[in-house]
Amino acid sequence: MSTKQVLFAGFGGQGILFTGKFLAYEGLLSGREVSWLPSYGPEMRGGTANCSVILSDTPVGSPIVTNPDILIAMNLPSLDKYEDATVSGGQIFVDSSLIERKVKRSDVEANYIPATKLAADENLTGLANMIILGKVLRHTELMDYKNVGRAMAKIVSAKRKNLYDLNLKAIELGYSYE
């Protein structure tokens, strides 16, 4: 893969920025060029939040993802806003427990996972972001799945072993979801 432009989009509080950070760290650890750019309103929770992550084998130009290769939509406004911007042949991942409609485009690959519901069912409240990320890792070549642990160790401190385990469990759940 040469350059992949990824856009995570949803509400503030869903862990949008954290998910992007995880991916950016994995890119760094793999020796790739990466950029991570948040975009959000003044409020900490409840507002719209999105996060542009670019992984590339060549230096990253603009860090702003306007036409994602991979879109992760965690609420309806995000899907409405970015579905048409996704590149032809791109991939869209939808949290189907929060977004009732299907992807309208026929020239992109659509993937659905009820991440928020799975998180609630499996006692992983607040980790829908990592569940949907697991699904993304299964269907893309963004990173080698065996490396999830080392990237997680970079962003969850060793003192919080419990959180580390829960995040990995959430990724695994999404990865193996059929």
Partner: protein, 353 residues
């Protein structure tokens, strides 16, 4: 330290300042640069430094004047409205010939404006934040790595020329994360015989002052200062040339606009349009000679800015209006897209002769 780490632009400024020997930070929180203060509040106590959240931006810049008078490295940071408040102090720093490092992570204006990225403080940075005849060195990073290297260099330039160095960033570069190397090398130590460090009963007291009531004396200081500025203009211009060898169109852009422009240039080249870029890294001194030289061979210039057209003045002055200059801009927190730049290139193709 050669291993790369992933850092936010704002945090990278703070860490680089510490590496440059800064142990005094004074500031007042304002989006989108608050991470600088947050980082300093955590790091300074660990290294026996001073982090102080002042009661206002005005207080913070005056604390900078105080510490700089003692010859120590010192900084403050803010975003657009906060820099306006610091203007008086910036003028006093110049009048006292004190080194200082100041950061502006710009947001949209005027007034309180918004909290999204902007470059609309270009005139303020390069012309007039504060009264009187004076200049300051203005550095414009376009990556998190340059947030580090230009902060480190900024402290050096401030000491070397007894001037304020202003790091003019924007909300995007401040908020984004990229891998950075923090390997910066040694800090150069400058003699500061003017510093107020206590006479110990041996030498004559030093006085740091900007009040000179005799016009002959004040004129002399102004002229001496401008001779120093001339040395800066001769020695410290920095810029990056990107695909300029065969360029017919020269984009001029700094900061985040330059990153967008690079994408646009690649796309233009795929369509057979020979675009290139001169990216000023120092906004003052501006890379006048490089632009004048480019004016000999390109058909037109395009100034890409997150403002209503401010840097475009310096582009036109540099090339003595020899070639058409087109403005490509978005404002208010909006960022030009590569498509906006491509449209400007199309326009340039029609009028450039």
């Amino acid at each position: 330290m050669s291993e790369k780490v992933l850092m936010k632009g704002n945090e990278a400024i703070a860490e680089a300042a510490i590496m440059a020997g800064c142990r005094h930070y004074f500031g007042y929180p304002i989006t989108p640069q608050t991470e600088i203060a947050a980082y300093m509040s955590k790091r300074m106590p660990q290294i026996d430094g001073v982090f102080l959240q002042a009661e206002s931006e005005i207080a913070a810049i005056n604390m900078v004047i105080g510490v700089s008078s003692t010859g120590k490295h010192v900084m403050t940071s803010s975003s657009s409205p906060g820099i306006s408040l610091k203007s008086e102090g910036l003028s006093y720093l110049a009048g006292c010939d004190l080194p200082a490092f100041v950061v502006n992570v710009q947001r949209g204006g005027p007034g309180l404006g918004g909290i999204q990225p902007s470059q609309s403080d270009y005139w303020q940075a390069t012309r007039a934040s504060g009264h009187g005849d004076f200049r300051r060195i203005v550095l414009a990073p376009d990556s998190v790595q340059e947030m580090v290297s230009l902060t480190f260099k900024g402290f050096d330039l401030a000491d070397k020329y007894r001037m304020t160095t202003l790091l003019l960033a924007d909300g995007t570069i401040g908020q984004m994360m990229e891998p950075v190397s923090l390997d910066m090398g040694e800090v150069t130590k400058y003699e500061k015989p003017w510093a107020v460090t206590g006479t110990k009963g041996i030498r004559k007291p030093n006085i740091v002052n900007s009040l000179f009531l005799q016009p002959e004396v004040l004129e002399k200081y102004n002229i001496e200062r401008y001779e120093r500025y001339k040395t800066v203009e001769e020695n410290e211009v920095m810029y990056e040339e990107y695909m300029m060898d065969d360029a017919e169109f020269c984009i001029v852009a700094f900061g985040i606009a330059a990153r967008v422009a690079k994408n646009a240039i690649k796309q233009a080249r795929e369509k057979g349009i020979k675009a290139g870029m001169i990216r000023p890294i120092t906004l003052w001194p501006f890379p006048k000679a490089a632009l004048a030289k480019a004016a000999e061979k390109v058909r037109a210039f395009i100034s890409v800015e997150l403002s209503m057209g401010q840097m475009i003045d310096d582009v036109e002055l540099s090339i003595r209006c020899k070639k058409p200059v087109i403005l490509c801009s978005r404002v208010g927190g909006m960022i030009p897209t590569p498509e906006n730049v491509l449209a400007a290139l199309d326009e340039a193709g029609k009028i450039g002769g």
